[in-house]
Symmetry: D2
Subunit: 431 residues, 4 copies
């Protein structure tokens, strides 16, 4: 039998807290899950630094990737005998679903910003480079790795296939909203996925939703909105993110200045220098990162060791609301205060902004456009969601931005000063 059609002797089942069971029948999928590049996702947390805010959020990207695969598997089960659906695309969809996050590195967001990397580029390189995953995909057919890469890259010709993985109501989002809600324990993030799956219909170039499922979709959009502001943009998570970025910045700066590390940061050198190879990239997971952070707590550089200690032992920065337009004067004052106290404001006085467009959300680090959601009316006409839903209409396109100033309260306290800004900030922070 051709490898692409090979079935496991007996179906394999993963117990999954979100979807109850993840079912695997295809030998190809089973082999991909066993590949070292996929197993590596167990060592990358799904929500980066969020576990420092929500202690339950310790789940990995391995977890999420299986979930996205399972959702796509269920969608295709429903599509099987429908018009517009070409069942030969099935395995391609399942592989793309499983592997869509393969290129994520440790604490993706911060690493990408500081080292100017792009996890999507690495996904492509893992799929197409000299890897176990590539070998497995190549056995399916010549060019199959490229096809998977194209689907994930949104350049595949069959846009319907692309939309399963990347649209405003794709399997990726449906999994992470529910999964992140489950592990953090928040009561948002629930919506009736079973119903949404039942009303999804394949069309020529996209998945659409039967109009009768509109309310379930509204509920999903609202869940998304709540999850962004309650979980993904939580100010404590952002504080951990800020400290983490500053650790990486500092390490790179020291490297650039020729600083001699007590422990040579072997795994980081290629990141500091510019372009890590694929092998180097894959070797740096969160276990390794945390290993260095703990080692760097012993470095002589006071900034690096302090920031590492703050991250590892969760002594994060505190935050206050900050309006960059009207509060520059106060910011200047603090800048001088910090400088005078010998505390480099570039590392210790950080403005961070988050913003989202409720019906066109970004996840941290994503910037691309996403297709709008279309509803299918009984007369087969398509209508864009916000034209039928008052609720979605009322929030779509309204961008909301939030600025915060992060700083180490413990250090501010120690500064002897009569600065009114200091006094005011202390008051706010102590509530």
């Amino acid at each position: 039998m051709a490898y692409r059609d090979e079935k496991l002797h007996e179906e394999k089942v993963f117990k999954d807290p979100v979807h109850r069971y993840v079912h695997v029948r295809d030998q190809v999928i089973w082999d991909l899950i066993g590949a070292p590049e996929f197993q590596r996702l167990r060592r990358i947390k799904q929500l980066g630094t969020s576990y420092l805010t929500f202690h339950g959020a310790e789940h990995s990207r391995f977890n999420h990737s299986l979930g996205v695969y399972e959702i796509v598997r269920r969608i295709l089960e429903n599509f099987k005998d429908r018009p517009n659906w070409d069942s030969r695309e099935r395995l391609l969809c399942l592989c793309a679903a499983l592997l869509h996050d393969l290129g994520h590195g440790p604490f993706s967001h911060s690493f990408e910003k500081v080292f100017k990397l792009d996890h999507e580029e690495f996904t492509q390189r893992i799929l197409l480079g000299d890897t176990h995953v590539n070998q497995i995909l190549s056995k399916v057919e010549a060019g199959f790795p490229q096809k998977v890469a194209d689907v994930i890259n949104k350049t595949y010709s069959n846009k319907l296939v692309v939309s399963l993985i990347s649209s405003q109501i794709d399997a990726d989002r449906m999994d992470y909203l529910q999964r992140d809600a489950y592990f953090t324990g928040v009561s948002y993030g629930h919506f009736d996925m079973e119903r949404i799956l039942r009303v999804m219909r394949p069309m020529e170039d996209q998945v659409v939703i039967k109009e009768s499922g509109m309310h379930a979709v509204e509920d999903y959009i609202m869940s998304r909105y709540q999850m962004y502001w309650q979980v993904y943009f939580h100010p404590v998570t952002r504080s951990a993110e800020v400290v983490l970025s500053k650790v990486l910045h500092r390490a790179k700066e020291l490297y650039d200045e020729g600083y001699t590390f007590k422990l040579q940061p072997v795994h980081f050198l290629s990141f500091f220098a510019g372009k890590p190879t694929l092998k180097e990239y894959l070797a740096l997971d969160e276990a390794v990162t945390l290993y260095y952070f703990q080692a760097w707590m012993e470095e002589d550089d006071p900034v690096l060791s302090d920031l590492c200690d703050r991250f590892v032992n969760r002594r994060l920065f505190k935050y206050i609301e900050f309006n960059p337009n009207s509060q520059m004067k106060e910011w200047m004052e603090l800048y001088q205060l910090f400088t005078k106290a010998g505390l480099n404001p570039d590392y210790y006085l950080v403005v961070d902004s988050s913003s989202d467009l409720p019906y066109d959300f970004y996840r941290p680090g994503e910037e691309e456009e996403r297709l709008p959601i279309h509803l299918l009316k009984p007369n087969q006409e398509l209508k864009e969601l916000s034209r039928l839903s008052d609720i979605v209409e009322s929030i779509s396109g309204k961008k909301r931005t939030d600025h915060k100033l992060y700083l180490p309260l413990d250090r501010l306290e120690e500064m002897s000063s009569r600065s009114k800004t200091k006094k005011r900030i202390m008051e706010i922070l102590y509530g």
Copy 2:
């Protein structure tokens, strides 16, 4: 105000997926949670290698420790105005609950066996040694760290206090059953804790349960039974445990033989040599362990690099039922087969046994006796649980043991042999 009575300006709340919220009011508790020795528990998984079987089981001991604290907090809330309860013990109970697992190291079970360590001893050393936790506890009152240590050690004079943390229905077990069920996603592990908390009553030297709550307790005992066989003793988890133990064995053996590691295993040296100091013990968490395992994949020793690769990339041993009494001949045959093929049977042919006593369970690594559960009848008489419950009576004291033989199927396949035992095993393993 005395430190022991100091309350936070505003109650702190942790969102917890199992208990919904964990509430902290005491400054002492808040300070302990922030201590580096406690934050370190974030880097130790609650269920060791179980995440390789149940992908959801990635939660840490930090998670569980907060949960135990919260359960004790709720119990004491109910005890507040009851006879037999001395409210001056409150803070002591909360501290002991929070800190009871403080001494756990990475993958405790295997580490303890291979390096002859005892996590309970390290809990004592952290409480009483030169640590942040000790400093915080000492501020409460002279001798307070010793009191906490005594409660955890079950030697504290007030046995009622001890029984909250260590009995057959203590806060520890009630938390881990529910938490481990939640994160693995299995449907066992649920019982009506709210009801059990409501029927708990403090007696002179133990916590007892009102007879009207007997069925809730039966349900808890059954959950425990199911969790042991379905989760804690799952054969795949034990396979990962076997491989892990063999990695540590091999590394120690190489060290003993004077092998030169490419990467000097700095963090492990004191473990190999015998007695790690407290500081060395605390420095070795699971991130650091995984860092070394990945490094050792590049070592020249084929056994060490192979075993590390198996653990890191989850290429575990397969297993078959094995009866040590009747199957010694087959075992011998395999032993010779492995030896002939140059595969050291000490590392690659491993018998592992698990056993439990349903109403007197041990968790892996625990050996101590636990107090029986007493029910309180309306006439104030106490009766041991199994004397009132048919179900518990019928399973109590019945030990069940399970032996399995673990080996690398991929290697067995390669061996050219006409051995019938090989043939039979291959048949079993391929189902």
Copy 3:
């Protein structure tokens, strides 16, 4: 001890699927629950005809009343030591919560419309008339029944007390949203009530919500919105409501015309005639109503027997969207068609409209204004919810109305006609 302070020997507990447990300590509350007028609520369904759409929705008003009581009990537990809260109002709040729906009759909405009754008026009469409930309340103190009546009537002087039971985020709504979601099985209706209770604060004349709880309140508002359109205004439920109203209309009309019923409708006579006494009102619950409906299936009047059969055996009317402005011509055509076919359009061709104001919802049959929700900022300033929440702002004040035309499809089919309207309707209804 005064009756108002009397506690039960042992706390009584009801197992509740929504709140887990309902706790009763006060003798007064226990006595009220046992009163026949309160037990009667077991014979009135919480959601009227919704069980014909959602088969799970068979729960009674007894169920809901206990739930509202329990929520208020928990709120007051939190209020106990707060400023602005007068703990002497506690028992009054609990009684008003428990008894607020006491005057509901069978299928309230339809009965009220057809017989021009008002369940709120009957709540007052039960509280103040010659009833067991009145006797119990009177034992608390002279004038206590009047106080309870005033709270429920929103005329009590302490507006804070009133707002616990009647505001846009009162215990009544919080219970029914969750309870109705639970029993129907829909996935809407969930919100984090535990969090909302934690951030509620008593102010001089209302309950307010700490700003930090805004997102939980948004979630509650969205649940409400979804429950209205998905459950409360479900077109099939409204169809059952339409048939039910027409049964009552017809029975009254026949009575007015002097028709001789085979079974004298003893329990209905005073309703037909005008003003039922309190005793007569209380005697007519849903069991009795269904008894008559089944009896009337045997009456000679074809309209009455047909409509009763439709209701009892769930052969409801079908519905189509209907625009009263633009579709009057088609309506006229149908009217003539029905008339010609001997089918009285007054009973068989019914336009029903539902409408809601998302952040100022009405439940069927309620018309009164409700107070807006106020958020409490850290600086103690109060802000109306929609001024801080984009989502609530965007939907508040936007009324949405839905008109449908209900008719018996089976009868329409039988009419021999070449009417295009008939043809078009048939097409729509057969999809």
Copy 4:
């Protein structure tokens, strides 16, 4: 297309709180659900008098019947392509599942005992008599109603089909355990049905369970055990059952004595006289029964009116443990006390016994044997469950019996007496 193969234009879906959705595709099933005899099940509570103990237990047999149908539908979905399964039996299984409880009357247990009726006989009569259900089934094929009747009667030749509906792990039990747990709100009654369905295999004459699913089955057996003692045999429910039986007894006795009822009990006459016709049986649902009970509260006979008032207004009898062997003397004493006080002990002093066999449970009113559960080993051998499961083995065959004495405490209090038994009972009852 033959009626038996006719599919609905579009699948119909019921929202179900237990199974999320119930799916209907077959025209036959849709028509059966709409039949008046099936709609009548909405007016019969699933758990009889349990709603007087657990206020959530107001769900009907309609509810449960849909659930059993849905479970069988899912099982057959899995059986579709398996050996041993004859797919031509599909529609028969679905019909039998849906209709298996069709003959239940109001408060089945008491009615059956007092009037010597058998709901199973009435199921047969509805299936085979002059009913809508019979007409629908007859359209499938000649003899089809008889086939359905045989399956439900356990006399159908294909025993595999029978075992889906009637065995110790059939769809009936799996639905009611979960459903009754859901509506009562107890935390027992949960087990992993999804897993059990996945490991069910059709064999020649029964459904068996793959050995790998043994723990899920153990969990199911334990749920069953807990549900029996916690819910089905709850002493308060039995008290309501006792009062109800005595109402019926008294009414019959009065009828036998020629008593003139103020309200002629038309619906009951044939029940009193002996053999109700099918039409008379179907006309007496719980709404009608409650109508009469309320009417009888006004009767002159003090026993009937008192007992009705007790049932309707939930003034139930209290209970104490009672050992019929050792406590006959006390019983005699009470008997005389009651007689002397003019309170007929036949109605007011009632011993009720419940007993169950944990792995061979009876539901109230069921007496037939049920097949044991067989596990399928990898080598295709079958083993009876208790031979592989220690837990099940330890409880199987152990009958447990519970005797209680029920009496009206309020009346006992009033009796002037120095009886020690009275004193002792009063003490027990007041705790």
